[in-house]
């Protein structure tokens, strides 16, 4: 049977508020346990929550960026359950009246097509603390530093039809919250976590299959792998005559499989009700109007501008705008190089592989946008060839200086004097007299291949410095002539 996959994501983005959502405690990552936990965070008697205005502002920014409905009123509810890292015995969250309503986000697929994913809602809530199971000889330690940090839970519609789309959507949200400056996106520190709702159905069926929820996946790679392995599990289960149970599952990367955490039958009754300690939040139109003016250029807008202004393909423009830093880098390099296609190729090619190799973010690139721009200028003005430029690029990355000084010091300047090139060619042809004979006797196909051989020989003799176009042209004349 042909199966079709349906995926929806719930993304928890930790908002970059300096203090917690309902208390004045700091939110910095990695502090000594319980040094960022106030009497409110410990839920001591008589303590009360006060909503952080910055959390509201950031959630509204997100809402505006995904073109969502933002109602005049939103409200906080208590979600009741007992857990040691949940001090008050309830999580303050938003159930029926989230701050951000229906919105949408366009994602670029691998074939460069654009798909619109609807966002059901996004709501504010507090994070829980952490239970520490090591170093307490059989007991559990509780660290409440994270308790009460601000989360924005972003819920998509079940509209993604494979793992790659889900990753593209997750990346797009990741990029967006970082563009907006409302989340640092650090997945290793848990600032951006993803729950994946996965179901399958026979191709063509409109009714949704039973879904499972894979909790807390914390890297894009794992999102893809977790979904693929879960889809595979569901297909095998159904084809073997079984049925999918609605449940929460965990992905184990070491075994590349998901396993059951708890099923719906065991699901807790959270006894949601409006939090009586907090007033409904009123969002004024004028506040949203002001915020709208503060919105930066968003990934989609930037991508469209890159396509139009720089005549880049949708794919290239998507890659270059995938992070604000990369887009800024590209534009800074382009301002010097003046050649969009060339700059795009270098940023996405040489630069990206260099960064990947050392696992660096573009903002930590060993070669600055200015340095890259200057290097590219030397290609466009024929000072060096593209091949030589790669050597120079590496040298810049090694800290040997700027393009011009490296070209100068290493004598890499391209030979463009036709007399000098002719001399090189004559020397080379003389040394390969047999091949020249052969060439002249050969048919068209063989000639083509041998021509490449002569070019290679010529570049070798010139140590790569001879201008390739000129070598090409002059060699042809000499062999044909």
């Amino acid at each position: 049977m042909q199966w079709e996959t349906v995926i929806g994501l719930e993304i928890h983005a930790q908002l970059a508020t300096k203090t917690k959502i309902f208390s004045g405690s700091a939110t910095e990552f990695g502090a000594e346990p319980n040094t960022q936990a106030s009497v409110s965070d410990l839920a001591m008697p008589g303590t009360l929550p006060v909503l952080n205005a910055e959390a509201v502002r950031m959630a509204c920014l997100f809402g505006l960026a995904v073109d969502a409905e933002i109602a005049e009123h939103n409200r906080f509810d208590r979600k009741n359950y007992f857990y040691p890292d949940l001090p008050s015995g309830y999580q303050t969250s938003q159930m029926d009246h989230p701050i951000v309503g229906l919105g949408h986000l366009d994602i670029t697929l691998e074939d460069s097509s654009i798909k619109r994913i609807n966002i059901t809602r996004a709501h504010l809530e507090e994070d829980a603390g952490k239970s520490l199971h090591e170093d307490f000889s059989g007991m559990t330690g509780i660290d409440l530093n994270r308790a009460g940090t601000t989360l924005l839970e972003i819920v998509s519609e079940p509209e993604m039809s494979n793992a790659k789309e889900a990753v593209a959507y997750a990346r797009a949200i990741h990029s967006l919250v970082r563009y907006l400056g409302i989340c640092d996106g650090n997945m290793a520190e848990g600032s951006f976590r993803c729950d994946c709702n996965v179901s399958i159905r026979p191709k063509g069926q409109t009714e949704l299959g039973t879904r499972t929820e894979i909790k807390n996946v914390n890297s894009f790679r794992y999102i893809e792998r977790a979904i693929n392995s879960e889809v595979q599990r569901q297909i095998e289960l159904i084809e073997d005559g079984g049925a999918v149970v609605q449940e929460t599952r965990l992905y184990d990367p070491s075994k590349d499989e998901t396993r059951s955490m708890r099923s719906k039958e065991e699901a807790t009754d959270y006894r949601y009700f409006p939090c009586p300690d907090l007033l409904p939040v009123v969002i004024e139109r004028s506040f949203l109007d002001e915020l709208r003016e503060q919105l930066p250029e968003l990934p989609t807008q930037k991508r469209e501008r890159f396509e139009q202004e720089f005549a880049l393909s949708t794919y290239d423009a998507s890659v270059l705008t995938s992070s604000r830093e990369m887009a800024d880098y590209f534009e800074a390099a382009l301002a010097i190089s003046k050649d969009a296609k060339l700059t795009a190729n270098w940023v996405m090619g040489e630069l990206s592989s260099l960064l990947n190799k050392d696992n660096l973010d573009i903002q930590d690139s060993p070669i600055s946008a200015t340095q890259l721009g200057q290097l590219l200028v030397r290609i466009t003005d024929n000072t060096i060839s593209g091949n030589i430029a790669k050597t120079v690029f590496e040298a810049i990355a090694n800290g040997e200086g700027d393009a011009d000084s490296i070209i100068e010091q290493r004598g890499l300047k391209q030979v463009t004097d036709s007399g000098a090139i002719e001399a090189i060619l004559d020397e080379m042809l003389a040394a390969n007299a047999t091949e020249v004979e052969e060439y002249r006797a050969a048919d068209e196909n063989r000639r083509k291949r041998m021509f490449g051989f002569f070019i290679g020989q010529a570049m070798r003799v010139s140590k790569g410095k001879a201008n390739p176009q000129q070598v090409n042209e002059l060699l042809r004349q000499k062999l044909e002539g």
Binding site: M44, P45, G46, L48, P84, S88, Y90, I142, R271, D277
Partner: protein
């Protein structure tokens, strides 16, 4: 010094008739003498009280003469006090010392009031009898065969017996006004949001309001002057401007329209109490007020919906008492579930457990729509009744309690406590300010009447009560033997 009002004591302190230290020693002596019989105090902070008194004397010597400077008060044991245990009348918090002061405590400290200690109460404010405390029942100084009333039992008994000049307390449904009525005191529950809830251990967050038990309305005004106001740590506290409540006490009541819902004077109301309350209405009329008949059609539902919403909120407010971070923890828990279950079932009393379960039931997914959501709808109707009534009248008068306090050993069903609040709980549902004042004696026991005002009109309540107290002497009666 005996049975003097705060205003009288302040005058005496200004006149140097005695020092704050002498006054505090006097009260500490009375506590020593009478508290063993009454059990008003969970904790007496003698040393701290004397220190505060000396500081107050020093401030007075330096020329300060604010009304609360050096006045010995005591606080219901649910207001968090730094370095002094806050037990909420529960084994659960028997070992709990907060590292912070409630906002109200902070305000009173700054005003120079002396704190004699922490007062007994029904456990976690659950109950109306004064009998549910882990520290034992608080006894009624007027008649120890009857309950003292609650939840602010110690707050009422201590002031009635002259063990403190006045006390603080929380009112979530009548917890100040009922024991005030039973003890011949003036009990004020301000408008919801008028006094900060920061540091006041919650029962039901949308009902709870801090207030006072005093000998007179004049004293309530003095305390409210200090404690009213916005607190940025309490999102539900009001930004509304705070008037000088003392300055309007002397206004004549001419033209004041007082509403009476005659329908509330039937049913189970002790007819003698009804008569005493109506007599107080006539007294107010003689002082210039006019009486207007009003209707409060949804009043009969108040108790039922307060039970639902109140226990629902309380059930989740109680979740933090889990034995993990502070408070009672059972010995040798086997695992996490055992730690929760035993800490809570050993640390919390029967009534608290019952209400917590009841509230959790009302909030459960199957019951939520039928109970909680429905109750919130009716709550709006109850509030609307009052809003409508206040278009015609300035204050509403009713009994505070349907009857005298019951016998301590009477067998009562689980709902009796809620029914006790039938006249008082609507003010909490609607967030309205309300005050109980003594208006008679019946079988040698005080009888209270309740006045309710529109939101933030505490000044009007206090003015009417003060004028009444200028013309009558019910508020000067004290229990025999104290």
């Amino acid at each position: 010094m005996q049975h003097k009002t705060m205003a009288q004591l302040a005058q005496a302190l200004t006149n140097k008739e005695f020092s704050a230290r002498e006054l505090t020693e006097y009260y500490l002596q009375r506590i020593k003498q009478h508290d063993p019989a009454l059990n008003c105090f969970v904790t007496v902070t003698a040393e701290q009280a004397l220190q505060q008194a000396e500081q107050a004397d020093a401030r007075r010597a330096a020329g300060e003469s604010t009304p609360l400077l050096g006045i010995p008060l005591a606080h219901q044991d649910l207001f968090c006090t730094q370095e002094v245990r806050t037990s909420c009348g529960s084994k659960m918090l028997d070992n709990f010392v907060a590292p912070y002061n409630a906002q109200l405590i902070e305000q009173l400290n700054q005003a120079g009031a002396v704190s004699l200690g922490k007062l007994n109460m029904d456990e976690f404010s659950m109950g109306c009898s004064g009998q549910t405390s882990f520290y034992g029942a608080c006894n009624n100084p007027w008649d120890n065969s009857r309950i003292v009333g609650g939840a602010a039992s110690g707050s009422a008994a201590a002031v009635a017996a002259g063990l403190a000049a006045a006390s603080t307390a929380m009112d979530s449904g009548g917890d100040i006004r009922l024991p005030a009525a039973f003890n011949g005191l003036t009990g004020l529950k301000p408008t919801y949001g008028r006094v900060s809830r920061w540091g006041m251990t919650a029962y039901a967050s949308s009902f709870d309001q801090a207030g006072f038990l005093t000998r007179t309305a004049e004293d309530s005004a003095l305390l409210l002057n200090v404690c009213a106001g916005f607190d940025e740590r309490d999102s539900t506290s009001a930004q509304e401007a705070v008037p000088d409540y003392s300055s309007t006490l002397k206004q004549p009541l001419t033209g004041l329209r007082i509403g009476i819902a005659r329908a509330l004077f039937n049913g189970d109301l002790n007819s003698h109490i009804g008569e005493a309350v109506l007599a107080s209405a006539e007294q107010l009329q003689q002082l210039g007020a006019t009486l207007v008949d009003i209707e409060l059609p949804h009043a009969e539902h108040a108790v039922a919906i307060a039970t639902i919403i109140g226990t629902a909120e309380a059930s989740t407010n109680m979740s933090r008492f889990d034995g993990v971070r502070f408070g009672y923890r059972c010995e040798n828990p086997r695992d996490l579930a055992d730690l929760y279950q035993r800490s809570r079932s050993e640390g919390l009393g029967e009534l608290v457990q019952r209400r917590t379960l009841l509230g959790a039931y009302y909030l459960s997914a199957e019951q939520y729509q039928d109970y909680y959501v429905q109750a919130q709808r009716i709550r709006r109707l109850v509030k609307q009744d009052y809003m409508e009534a206040f278009k015609q009248v300035d204050l509403i008068l009713s009994p505070t309690s349907a009857d005298l306090p019951r016998a301590v050993n009477a067998t009562v069903d689980a709902n009796a406590d809620f029914l006790t609040q039938r006249y008082t709980v609507a003010a909490n549902l609607a967030g309205l300010p309300a005050l109980s004042l003594p208006v008679g004696l019946l079988e040698q026991l005080p009888v209270g009447a309740q006045l309710i005002a529109p939101h933030f009109h505490e000044a009007r309540l206090l003015n009417a009560a003060h004028q009444y107290q200028q013309a009558t002497d019910w508020h000067t009666r004290t229990p025999a033997g104290f």
